[in-house]
Each structure stands twice: as C-alpha cells, then as structure tokens.
C-alpha cells in the first residue's frame, strides 16, 4: 500500500509533544468523518453503513483539498498497520458458532476454494481483455 517505514522514520524525528498533537489531530479528523457519515446514514430511508459514507466523504475531502494528506498520514497508517488486531475479538466470536461450522464445513470449504479461483480467473481475463482493447 504505502511505505510505512519511511513514514515512521520521519515521525520519529518529531518532538514528543508534536507527535501527540499530530496523532490526535489525525484521529479526530477520522472520527469527525465517521460521525458525519453515521449522522447522514441515520437519515437515509434505507440502511447503509455510516462508516462507508465516512470513507467516501473523507475521500472527497482529500480530493477537494479540504483536508491535507499529512494531517491524517500518521494516525491513518498506524490504524492501517495494526488493522488485523482489531478483528481478533470478532474472530474469537466464532466460539459461539462451532455447531454451525461443523454442520456446514463442506459448503464453507467449497465456497472458499471455488469462489476465490472463479473470481481470480474471470476478473483477470475480463481486465486483460478490456485493457488490450483499450490499447488498440
């Protein structure tokens, strides 16, 4: 995705106070976009995740230069770097669903192999075909 190491090396040169300020600013911006997204989604007539709205809003704000990339770079890359940790408690929730998994182990394994290969194959060929057509 992006080079975290060079980013963190730059960040290490900051003074401690600056580090805290920089990090909290980024995190507050992220939370702000999340809450605006959630607010909008609560007014929508259909259910749509507020977090995705927040993503789209933040993306537009970055493109319109309302938000500078540097403002959210450090807190954002930290969150992206340790994202896997955030799902661990959810994954442990599997403990409630062992019976279902044992009942459906065949479907689950099949879907996992079959759909992955099907997507790799068809998307790969579609993109290759469209890309060639565009180059001609």
């Amino acid at each position: 995705m992006m080079n975290f190491n060079t980013l963190f090396l730059q960040f290490k040169k900051f003074k401690p106070v600056d580090k805290i300020v920089d990090f909290s600013r980024g995190f507050l911006i992220i939370l702000l976009f999340l809450s605006v997204g959630k607010l909008i989604s609560s007014y929508l007539p259909f259910s749509f995740p507020g977090s995705i709205l927040g993503l789209l809003l933040l993306f537009s704000a970055l493109n319109l230069r309302l938000i500078k990339v540097e403002w959210i770079m450090i807190s954002g890359s930290l969150l992206l770097k340790y994202m896997a940790l955030l799902f661990v408690p959810v994954g442990v929730g599997l403990t409630n669903h062992f019976a279902l998994i044992f009942d459906h182990w065949f479907v689950i394994t099949f879907s996992f192999f079959f759909t992955t290969l099907l997507i790799l194959l068809s998307v790969g060929h579609l993109y290759q075909f469209l890309n060639k057509k565009e180059d001609l």
């Binding site: 995190f27 992220i30 995705i52 954002g76 408690p89 599997l94 790799l120 998307v123 290759q128 469209l130």
Partner: protein, 225 residues
C-alpha cells in the same frame, strides 16, 4: 476478572503471534489466524465466557469503524497512478462483486447451506471491516465472515501467481486487479512483493470492490430475498 484480563491478553497474544510470523513467515502462521486460534482454544479449554471477553475488548471493536473510514487514505494515495484505467477497474470489480454474491447466495444454498451461512459467505472477498458490515446487513454471522476473509486472503495470496500462469493471465495490471478483488489486503501484500505495479492496482481494486459490495450487496439482497 476476565473483563480486565481480556484486552492485555489479546494484545500479548497478537504481538507474540506477530513476532513468530516475523521469524517464520509461513502462511499458516498469519498473526490473525494464530491469535484467534489460540484464543479460541483458551475459550474452549478454560470454558471462558465470550460475552465478558467481548466486553473487555470493546475498545478494539470500537476502532473497527474508524478503520473503515481510513481506507480512503490508500485509495487517495493510489488514485493518480491509475486514473486512465479507472473505468475498466470498476467494471472488473463489478463482475467480482456479482460473482461473489451469486456464488454465495444462489450456488451455496443448492449445496445445502442455510441462508445465514450463505449470507456470511457473501462478503468473504472484501476487506474485513467492510465484509463484517455486509455480513451484518445480510443477517449473516460477522465472526464467521471475518475468519473466512482471512482464509480466503491467505489462499488467494499464496496460489495467485501460480494460478495466473496456469490460466494465461499475463497482464500484470490484470493480475493485480484480480488479486485485489479476490484476496483483498493479504493477496495485495503478497503480489506487492513481486510486482509494484500489480500491487498498486490490487490495492485500489480491493477498496473499490469493497465499496461496491457495501453498496450493491444489501440492495440486491433486499430485492431478491
């Protein structure tokens, strides 16, 4: 007691798994799988109460939604690289979303899955936080989806390049896009090691695919079921 121990234990196990993965980077040692596996074993053998564990780790779960919002950052950083190919990437991602949805909700019930399992499998090809949102809005089981997402990512990432060679996908942009659609961030990280161009295409297609899935799947589900 478990309430106070849950968070430190989770952190300890996660960073120990990460350290182990750094020494022995085998696919099966992926930090998420390893830490979830060991915590599941702990729950099973010590007969721990999951609800209390979940309350103790609610800090981590609360960060899931900010983690979705921040996906705008890599999308923004990669966008200029691929501007002229944007249309074909979106069409390729659309195909991937439709395949994932129809395989999960039409094919799997034929093989004997109930609707809850099928709905949990629909989001297995997009990045975990969004996959869980999708699973939740289709009445699936988010924790099953999260585990499937990681397995799919590991499988796609490790088989991808060999599979491409077998079925004649030579265009490195196509390789990247297909990887991003099928195996999200884990596949992307893998393909990034060998090919930076493919990696950039993979990281953008994984986010576009996730956004499209989040928009289309609940809509299709509401119309069809």
């Amino acid at each position: 007691m478990l309430f106070y121990l849950a968070l430190p234990c989770t952190l300890l196990i996660f960073f120990a798994s990460k350290a182990l993965y750094a020494i022995k980077p085998w696919a099966i040692f992926h930090p998420f799988l390893l830490s979830v596996g060991s915590l599941l074993l702990l729950h099973y053998f010590l007969k721990l109460d999951y609800l209390e564990y979940a309350r103790g780790t609610s800090l981590l779960t609360a960060l899931l939604e900010p983690a979705i919002v921040i996906l705008a950052l890599p999308l923004y950083l990669q966008l200029h690289l691929i501007k002229e190919k944007f249309n074909i990437i979106v069409s390729a991602c659309l195909l991937a979303v439709l395949i994932a949805f129809s395989c999960a909700l039409f094919l799997m019930p034929l093989l004997g899955a109930d609707l809850v399992t099928a709905a949990s499998l629909a989001g297995q090809h997009v990045t975990t936080p969004i996959a869980m949102e999708i699973s939740d809005s289709l009445n699936g089981i988010p924790s099953l989806t999260a585990a499937m997402v990681v397995c799919v990512g590991i499988f796609g990432g490790s088989i991808g390049l060999v599979f491409y060679k077998l079925c004649g996908i030579k265009d490195n942009q196509a390789q990247g896009v297909a990887m991003g659609c099928a195996a999200h961030a884990l596949g992307t990280a893998k393909i990034m090691e060998t090919d930076k161009v493919a990696g950039a295409f993979a990281s953008i297609s994984l986010i576009i695919c996730a956004i499209l899935s989040a928009i289309l799947m609940p809509l299709l589900y509401a119309v069809l079921f």
